[in-house]
Symmetry: C2
């Protein structure tokens, strides 16, 4: 198929497709001549994935490129694919990206949490630092973000992660699974957040209103 057809079938303007080609988000088509290239279904799928990652997943073009590059490395196993995708997903922000002030116990709290859940060897992935940063922010604002606060979140997320891996495992190893890892990691994030907010609406609606809805579990 031609560029124009790719554009028509994906809904993405040709100028934008050219831009994605330039940026390496989309592999070049098969050159038929100096002024004609042929694109296949794979291009269409990839293009749709790119658009979803950028528009639904809220990722930047540069990060999207890195994620896809990482996922294209066929030498990685599933664990490493998740890892590579993750690293790319948040720009590999390490400890330096967090700026803990002295006395912040955020990292300590996080370590305790991970220990409690047996997630010990996860101390150097970008998500770890993202978590430390978020906890530090909450603390800085005066919200106690201790184990008791984090535990329900970790407990909730564990079966989700297990389920995600199981789902990904259904895809045949190779290109398809690579794409599935990226798509499901990123595109289920809005699902998770939206459901949490819907649940907020439901739970707050079904509680006695106006005052504190629960007192029995106060510390």
């Amino acid at each position: 198929m031609r560029l124009s057809e790719l554009s028509a079938r994906s809904g993405v303007p040709t100028a934008t497709i050219k831009y994605y080609l330039r940026e390496g988000l989309l592999p070049p088509g098969e050159r038929l001549s100096a002024s004609r290239s042929e694109y296949g279904e794979a291009h269409l799928r990839r293009l749709r994935l790119v658009r979803s990652l950028i528009q639904v997943g809220g990722m930047s073009v540069a990060r999207t490129k890195d994620v896809l590059r990482a996922a294209e490395d066929e030498t990685l196993d599933q664990h490493e694919q998740f890892g590579a995708a993750q690293v790319a997903l948040m720009g590999g922000g390490g400890p330096q990206g967090v700026a803990l002030e002295p006395g912040a116990k955020a990292q300590e709290t996080v370590d305790e949490l991970l220990a409690e859940f047996g997630w010990e060897q996860c101390g150097n992935i970008p998500a770890y630092w993202m978590l430390v940063g978020a906890v530090a922010s909450l603390e800085r604002l005066g919200y106690p973000c201790d184990l008791a606060q984090l535990r329900p979140y970790a407990a909730a997320v564990e079966p989700v992660a297990r389920f995600d891996l199981e789902v990904v495992g259904r895809y045949p190893a190779g290109d398809e699974r690579l794409e599935a890892v990226v798509a499901l990691t990123v595109l289920n994030e809005p699902v998770l957040l939206a459901l949490r907010r819907i649940a907020h609406a439901h739970v707050s609606g079904s509680m006695p209103q106006g005052q504190a809805p629960a007192r029995q579990t106060l510390s």
Copy 2:
């Protein structure tokens, strides 16, 4: 305190504070004279909240303003506060923001899910449309996003929402609770996402690698 002290104690440049004042993210200080204003601890707290929402929560300046405006409306009860914060949080994107193609069963799936969880009256909040959009995206990419896919997410998120509401209820109704609603709604989102990814890393690391890690629960 003066602008410069506010800047020093918050770490935000004075030019940026002025910008926030202009944009209405920060209420003006108490005017002492034509060229001097006094800021209080409340300003410092608010400023830190704004920075957290923007930098940690990834919100735009405009949305942050709307959220804070909504939260400042003291006539709302807790349920409505969550609602107002939510509406502001995602720009009130209604059905028109999603662009379902004909034949998309995303909305149907979502409705079924909400019915199954008894979250029936939540059909018009922005989060609902965010969810429909995300599900539609997954479908468009060829990932089956049916009840079986969504159920674990909804099940995971329900106790989290319950916990969130309970935590918010601990704060004295008024300014503090308003701020808590905003801060905890937004700033716990990175916590949730980071923990999911950490759990991915852990779960994938602890599974037999390379091939499908689980087959027994296949549909």
